[in-house]
Structures are given as C-alpha cells and as structure tokens.
C-alpha cells in the first residue's frame, strides 16, 4: 500500500496509479456536494443545464460543514455517509468526475461505475471534522446557496488525507481490510465483492 500525492484536476493516468488501500493525499481544488446538491445537479443536467463546476477530472467531497466561526475559513468538515449519493454517482462519473470522497459502503452499480468510467472512491475519517478542516485553505459557495450547509462549495485543500476503497480496476479495500481481521468463527463474514475488470 503506497502513499500517493495527487494534485487536482485528476488525469486518467493519475487515476490508474491509485490502488485500493493506498493512502491518497489530495492537493488543489475539490467541490462539496451531498444529498440535496446532488439531486439539483442531476435535475439541472436533465434540464440541459451545465454543472456548477467543470466536471473533467474533478473531485467531489460529500460534506456539509458547520458554519465558520469568526476568523475560520470553514467550520468542521468531515465526510458524510456515501450510499445516499449512490443514486446520483454514476451520472457524476459519466460527466467526468474522477474521485469522490465520503465514508461507508457503496452499491454495486456505483462500484461498477468506478471501473466503467475510470474513477476512484476515497474515504476519510468520519467524525474527524475539526482535524480535516485544518487541511482546507479556502472555501467559497459556488452554487445552491439556499441549501446552507448543503450548498456546493469550492475548497482549496492541502494534502487532504484519504484512503482508497474502490479503485478503477475493481479493488475493494473494505473487503480486503476486514477479511484480514475477521475471526474464523465470526457470525457474519465480510461481503465478497463482485469480480472486477
């Protein structure tokens, strides 16, 4: 498992360098979006409108930060649970998004999407919102301001820490990691992923 430093936007080549289990540190521009913003983005696309940011090589971070205190760039900003975005993720990948950051399991269609479109699923530590905010240097709302915490924000990050769970060739680090530590007599075994590429 390697430590990979990535600068946005992510190229096809860079995506292929990232393997499930790698520690991935992201520097550059990333965009925040969660449930309500995803719904609007997909509705906008259906209505023939453009996404609020250039999707080519983009990174989406599933987060709804707390409001900044005076003097802060952003409040606490850890990942939210990703499966709620499953319905919208294949469309985002189709638009050119190369990495999404959240936490937790993804559905089969989304996992297949990472392989089909050549993208990766990254996770950061849930509940570590104060710590993760320290890697965020700027934050500005770029769309759907009325959604408050759920608005789309452009963040500039420096070495934002993540771990790759699903890579572009069907790797599954939740399965790999849990299989290593599950006891032989456990009542439930880790779910085996469907075959990758």
């Amino acid at each position: 498992m390697a430590k990979v430093y990535i600068t946005t936007p992510i190229t096809e080549e860079q995506v292929r360098e990232i393997k499930a289990g790698d520690e991935v540190l992201i520097t550059g521009t990333i965009y925040t979006a969660r449930d309500a913003a995803h719904r609007r983005m997909v509705e906008d696309l259906e209505a023939g409108k453009a996404l609020p940011f250039d999707a080519q090589g983009a990174v989406i971070y599933y987060v709804g930060p707390t409001p900044p205190k005076p003097g802060q760039v952003i409040g606490s900003a850890g990942p939210t649970t990703s499966y709620r975005m499953d319905k919208y993720t294949p469309e985002m990948l189709k638009q050119g998004v190369k990495a999404v950051i959240g936490k937790g399991y993804r559905g089969d269609e989304v996992k297949a999407g990472f392989v089909k479109y050549g993208a990766v699923y990254l996770v950061s530590t849930g509940g570590a919102g104060a710590l993760l905010a320290k890697t965020i240097e700027t934050a500005e709302v770029v769309a759907y301001e009325d959604l408050g915490a759920e608005a789309v924000r452009r963040l500039t990050v420096k070495e934002f820490p993540t771990v790759c769970i699903h890579d572009a060739v069907g790797g599954d680090q939740y399965y790999a990691g849990q299989s290593k530590w599950v006891k032989p007599d456990a009542m439930v075994k880790p779910k085996k992923p469907e075959a990758g590429e």
Partner: protein, 280 residues
C-alpha cells in the same frame, strides 16, 4: 414544591448542546483510550489516533468535533415536587436548542417535514423525552446524535422461539451491515422487550449509560460481554478498514413483554458520542 423557571432550562440546554459538541466526556475518552490498547490493526490504530487528535483539537479550539452536530435529544428526569414556572417547558427547550446551535456555530440539520424537507435553520425541533421521578430536581441530559449512525439502526419483532440466539444474531448482523457507514468503533445500544416502540426507547436510553458501565443484572452484563466479543470478531474495525475493535461497548436494557413477542431494537452510536448532563 420547588419552583424552577423555564428560562433556566433554556439556558442550560443552550450550554449543554455546545459543550457536548466541543468536548468529549471522560467515559468516551476512556473507552477510546482502551480501544488504542486493544486494536491490533495498524490502520485501525492510525484511525484511533486521528480520532484522539480530533477531539483534542475540538476541545482546545472550542469547535465541533464532527460537522454533523446532530439532532438535539433532551432527556428530562423531572422531580414530581418541581413546579415549572414562566411558560412552556417544551418551548423553553426548543428555545435553548436554537440559541445553543446558533451561538455555537453548530450545523442546522433539522427539517420541518420528512418529505417537504425545508431546513428550520435553528436545529429545532428538539426531540424531548420526559420521565417523572421522585424528588425536587430537574435533571437534563443532552445527546447530540449524528444521522450516520442513527440511519444504521434496526428494529425487529422476533418470534419468541428465536430466543437469545436469534436476538444475538439480529444484533450482530445489524452491526455488520452498519459497518463503516456508522463511524465505528461504535457504542451499540440494545433494547429487548416491552413492545415495538418501548424496545426502541430502551435501546436509545441504554446509550445514556456511561460507556462501558455494565447492566446491573449479572446475567445481562454477561450477555453484553458476549455481544461485544461477537461484534469484535467481525473484523470491521475503526472506520471499517479492518481491525479488532468494531465496538467500544454494548449496552442492553430489557423489560417484560407479551407472551407472543420478542421485540429487539438496536440503536447504533458512533465513536463521537456527544452527551452532557446537568441538574437544576
């Protein structure tokens, strides 16, 4: 009869919701420290270290440890010799929640309606649970609970023939399904018995117990340990990346039930278990 002004309740709630979000209580800190010694996976240890760094930073800078500053659950133990004056108790609690979330720069996560989904912009409604108890005190316990862990909770009306083995399987399966979604290492609250809603309430209230305190009934304390061992065999580990500590503790609360029933509720709580209490 002792009089308590509801404004005092509002002020206390406003303070508690902020403190709960900024500073992890000693019982949770101790449980995470114990987990550091028990976790065998290097990646699991690295995540526990991040969790420790995070709550230390949040406390030092008085910022929320998690961006999901939660739904404000307010548990009241109202002494029957208390006379509340100055207005409505529930309104005062909601006033306190709105004030605390606004002043503390906490996130407003509450909606007016589950389908219309318009943010109320002051994190109300608070979820209020009131028990009347002997005495002339008002005890206020606040738990600010995130959505990620709550969403992974489950309830099942098992047939009595399922017995303890069936209940145990359902509880362990619920935790396995929750996996990384609920931000492990978890505190697993379990309610068994009563009826449909009482079992859920028991599970919720079991989370109010200090983390790791055992059920006073030795037989149930042993079952809590059995569940903890089974859950930690799953290999889920901190944030689901694999490891030996999936849960910090399992709390089980039980009550009698109907001859046809075996209700089992599992209320899952994340590692950032934000609770605080005060007595007036």
């Amino acid at each position: 009869m002792r009089e308590i002004h509801v404004d005092q309740v509002a002020e206390t709630v406003a303070r508690l919701v902020q403190e709960a979000n900024f500073k992890l209580e000693a019982d949770v800190v101790n449980a995470i420290n114990r987990a550091m010694n028990l976790e065998e996976a290097p990646v699991g240890q690295a995540i526990l270290l991040q969790i420790q760094d995070n709550y230390t930073l949040a406390d030092a800078e008085r910022v929320p440890m998690c961006q999901d500053t939660g739904v404000a659950m307010v548990f009241l133990e109202l002494g029957q010799d208390v006379h509340l004056v100055g207005g409505s108790l529930n309104e005062a609690i909601n006033r306190g929640v709105a004030k605390g979330y606004t002043e503390g720069y906490l996130r407003m996560s509450m909606l007016n309606d589950p389908i219309k989904r318009v943010n109320t912009r002051n994190n109300t409604p608070a979820l209020i649970y009131t028990d009347v108890v002997p005495g002339d005190q008002l005890k206020i316990k606040v738990d600010c609970k995130g959505g990620g862990s709550e969403n992974m909770s489950q309830l099942k009306m098992l047939p009595p023939s399922a017995g303890w083995e069936g209940a145990k399987r359902f509880i362990v399966e619920t935790v396995a399904n929750a996996g990384p979604n609920a931000c492990p290492p978890l505190i697993v609250g379990v309610g068994i018995g009563g009826n449909f809603d009482k079992s859920a309430l028991l599970a919720k209230k079991s989370l109010l117990r200090h983390v790791g305190d055992a059920n006073p009934d030795p037989e149930w304390a042993a079952r809590e340990q059995e569940l903890l061992e089974e859950i930690n065999k799953l290999g889920v580990g901190p944030m689901g990346l694999g490891g030996t500590v999936t849960a910090l503790a399992v709390h089980v609360e039980v009550m009698g039930c109907h001859i046809t029933a075996l209700p089992v509720a599992v209320n899952i709580e994340c590692h950032s278990h934000r609770h605080k209490e005060a007595a007036l």
